[in-house]
């Protein structure tokens, strides 16, 4: 119902406005015709100005109303000042351009600047409740998301440790016992064969657990940190890779993993698409931000939205980092990622 009322009122207002516009247009034409018929100085311009004033005010106020609440008063003042200034300038131009125009414009400008300064200082001192709430919310979200990721990384490493100490160790012991039994059954080849296949099953299970653990974090990364792991990646790559690292400390596990996978994926891509190219990996710990740059001198033209790169970008962005791919055709590929690491 309310909506309907509102709509009706809006329609009525629009009607009033269009009637007013039509009358104003008509008046302007009439005075112009009268002027044309009678001759003399071009006085209809005054009538036009008079008729245009309400339109200017309305347009100015409408645009000012859409400003955010705390800036609305300032917006209204500047809109009105603007309209007054336009009127003054027109009057000034029509009356023979004296120096007087400077003073009213100066006054309007000073008043506006003063108001702006006060509002600005006030908002610096006391952000509005909405801003405060938003700020707090962003803080909480950043902290909890980071916390969740840290917990997840720690949890994954714990699972990996448990797999190693628990299931894997037992399977190794199992396969060892089977092996010993097998060794004593030399004179019963059919039984020995059964045990041999049981041992093969145990080995396969151990292998699967190993692959699982390696997917969580490659051992050298967990053991020796990012620089050693990236060095190892460079040595194993099919490309000639130089690694320059300025990282003198162990970073949080979640950052190390993300950085490692950025380098690993970038080098894999380079080896696939830039065969025979040379690649360069740079790692720098710059006051709270880890910068990772992987570049190659291959053919370029990588698609930044490709599956692997999108996955990397998500991983990096989840940590409030950024990832940028530059790959102009014929000029190599550079992947640059930044990760926050306080």
């Amino acid at each position: 119902m309310l909506d309907n009322d509102d709509t009706e009122r809006a329609i009525q207002w629009r009607g009033v406005r269009s009637v007013w516009s039509a009358l104003a247009m008509l008046a302007a034409i009439v005075v112009t015709i009268v002027w044309a018929a009678t001759g003399g100085a071009f006085w209809p311009v005054w009538v036009w100005l008079g008729l245009a004033v309400p339109f200017m005010f309305r347009a100015a106020l409408r645009s000012a109303r859409s400003a955010p609440r705390r800036w609305r008063a300032l917006a209204v003042q500047s809109a009105l000042s603007g309209v007054v200034a336009v009127i003054l300038i027109v009057v000034w131009a029509l009356t023979g351009a004296g120096f007087w125009l400077f003073w009213p414009l100066f006054g309007l400008g000073v008043a506006l600047a003063f108001h702006g300064l006060i509002v600005g200082m006030w908002s610096q001192l006391r952000p509005g409740p909405r801003e405060q709430a938003l700020e707090q919310r962003v803080d909480v979200l950043t902290r909890t998301r980071r916390g969740a990721l840290d917990v997840q990384a720690a949890e994954l490493r714990r699972i990996e440790r448990d797999l190693h100490d628990g299931a894997q160790a037992r399977l190794v012991a199992l396969s060892m016992q089977i092996g010993r039994a097998e060794d004593r059954l030399e004179d019963r080849p059919e039984l020995a064969e059964l045990l041999r296949s049981a041992r093969a099953e145990a080995s396969a299970a151990i292998g699967e657990l190993r692959d699982l653990a390696r997917g969580i974090a490659p051992p050298v990364l967990a053991d020796r940190g990012l620089v050693a792991a990236v060095d190892a990646l460079g040595k194993r790559s099919a490309l000639e890779v130089t690694v320059e690292a300025q990282v003198a400390r162990r970073l949080p596990p979640v950052i190390e993993s993300a950085a490692y996978f950025v380098v690993a994926e970038s080098l894999t891509n380079a080896a696939k698409h830039a065969r025979g190219a040379r690649a360069r990996v740079r790692l720098a710990d710059r006051g709270g931000r880890l910068v990772i740059v992987v570049s190659d001198d291959g053919p370029g033209g990588a698609v930044p939205t490709g599956g692997g790169l999108t996955g990397l970008r998500r991983r990096v962005e989840a940590l409030d980092g950024s990832l940028e791919v530059r790959s102009p055709a014929g000029a190599g590929t550079t992947i640059r990622a930044e990760l926050p690491c306080e």
Partner: protein
């Protein structure tokens, strides 16, 4: 032969000890961590140390570090690393660590008693025992595309022989594994050495080292 073991998991430590004793190999001492390994190596002067990569307190690469340290203090000590994963960085460090036998095996290989005991004896005698996964990794990094490089000149059979040689096996063992005569193996080996332009030698261990040096030069 005198052997010491550094392994934090009692189940495996006791298991390996029992297994080796059944094969008349004397396990003279056991340790649970890196410092313990250094102590028993100093105290018992063994021929071989069998060491788990991960040991307390850090559970990272403590075992490799302790083994390298033990070897530095007692040159010629054979080191057989048992690991739950293949890490080329650690293998490379061991291979570079100087005199004495070297082994790097995945833990589950202890289940194959014959092969494991063979590896233990080989490393204690100054030879090499590398897991086939380690060798596969070396071949991969030498020849990533599978097409380029000197290795592509080898026939599939020769590549097989090269792999077994890199694991540290003797001619006789290779012949047994491939079910061919030792003469055939010798012929494959001389072909491989000619194709890879490696210095020919009759001695098993030197040949292994030449092959490893070739693979690692990639």
């Amino acid at each position: 032969m005198r052997v010491v073991i550094a392994e934090d998991q009692a189940l495996l430590r006791e298991g390996i000890t029992a297994l080796l004793r059944e094969q008349d190999i004397d396990v003279v001492a056991q340790a649970e961590d890196g410092p313990g390994l250094l102590r028993i190596v100093a105290g018992h002067k063994p021929d071989l140390a069998i060491v788990d990569v991960r040991l307390p307190p850090t559970f990272t690469d403590e075992g490799v570090r302790a083994a390298l340290e033990a070897r530095a203090r007692m040159p010629g000590l054979g080191v057989l690393i048992l690991s739950q994963y293949v890490e080329p960085v650690y293998t490379a460090e061991l291979l570079e660590s100087g005199e004495g036998g070297i082994g790097y095996l995945l833990k589950e290989r202890v289940g194959d008693v014959r092969a494991f005991v063979g590896a233990v004896q080989r490393v204690a005698a100054g030879g090499t025992a590398l897991d086939r996964e380690v060798v596969a990794e070396l071949v991969r990094s030498r020849d990533p595309g599978g097409e380029d490089g000197a290795l592509s000149a080898l026939t599939p059979r020769e590549r097989e022989v090269l792999g077994l040689m890199a694991e540290g096996r003797t001619n006789t063992a290779i012949a047994r594994a491939l079910v061919v005569t030792p003469g055939a193996v010798a012929k494959h080996i001389s072909n491989i050495f000619a194709k890879l332009d490696l210095p020919a030698t009759d001695e098993d261990h030197r040949r292994v080292l030449a092959v490893l040096a070739f693979l690692r030069a990639g």
